[in-house]
Symmetry: C2
Subunit: 201 residues, 2 copies
């Protein structure tokens, strides 16, 4: 930090690098020890920044964890747009299952699931998770409705919930396998559940 501060900070410069360093350190701590073991002190130390730098951006631990998860979800999940609902949903589900099968990602998801809703900032964590992981994928459904491929009355988020709900249920509660059979079954049944009323498409 021997340089003089720039009069106008460039976007994507030091500020973006600091943000990235903090979120990377947060992800690593979440993966290593879960949400309970996450501390802003250790994140700041690992990222090489002052504790106040972390708190200025993310006032609570939950918001910090949410931001780290959101970052991870955004980089790992480009939205499929193949022009057909079946191939879009197949690609999306394959992406999500690919992530959930990685033990360190499973541990992150488990850490989010464990956050008590009474924890300050917990809502922020959940909303951020939802928005980055699922709401983006709703555009897949919106396009399919426009093409007449699925029930026009479908709520986009509900379609995605039906597609991925069984996978998260297995990961978080029942321990059943995230296998190819689940992948095929979830895709097939979600398409059938939201098939257009008339079969003329």
């Amino acid at each position: 930090m021997s340089r003089q501060p720039q009069p106008t900070p460039r976007p994507g410069g030091r500020s973006a690098r600091v943000r990235q360093a903090i979120l990377t350190a947060t992800s690593e701590q979440l993966i290593a020890g879960g949400y309970d073991a996450l501390t802003v002190n250790e994140v700041a130390a690992a990222a090489g920044v002052a504790i106040t730098t972390v708190y200025r951006r993310w006032p609570t631990k939950a918001e910090l964890a949410a931001a780290a998860l959101g970052e991870l979800a955004a980089t790992a999940n480009p939205m499929p747009d193949t022009g057909r609902i079946e191939t879009d949903l197949r690609a999306l589900l394959a992406q999500i299952l690919g992530l959930l099968r990685r033990p360190e990602i499973a541990r992150l998801v488990r850490a989010v699931a464990a956050i008590d809703p009474d924890t300050p900032g917990a809502d922020a964590a959940r909303v951020a998770f939802w928005q980055t992981r699922f709401a983006g994928s709703a555009s897949i459904v919106t396009r399919a409705i426009a093409r007449g491929e699925i029930d026009a009355a479908a709520e986009p988020e509900a379609v995605i919930e039906l597609l991925v709900g069984p996978a998260y249920l297995r990961l978080l509660l029942t321990g059943r396998p995230l296998d190819a059979e689940l992948e095929a079954e979830s895709l097939r049944r979600t398409l059938a559940a939201y098939a257009p009323d008339t079969e003329t498409t």
Copy 2:
């Protein structure tokens, strides 16, 4: 304990009462503090039994938690059998959502979700949860297949996963509401997803 031991212990006698006291204490501790805070010491103290009495029946904390959850699920969930798949699934989903809407039950489910699969006994906890909460409900599907009400190729557990997956996803991750809309949507789409191939039934 001033009485002499019976030569042959009666089933449903002292042994069953001890079991019940331990599992009740376990549920209360899980609800109060989650899985991390659960200790066999405190459970034993609350139940008024020796620590070894707990360990003899449930060698790990995870198995103890699983047994407590299983007990709770079994008492709160008589299986519907109305003679029609639609009313059976509607009643089952209403039961499950009724439980998940209770904050103390939500906290228990969250505690199970938080158990790391690498924890000794964690598999036992998950399997017990699955078996008591879901596998029993598979009989609803088996009967519906016999009546020709749903796709004969349906895997019973998969039907239940599709029915309840979105609800658990909302509870554990996204924080979306467990409302009447979700209830109606999950039921309607699950029935459509598993409708028999021919509409002659």
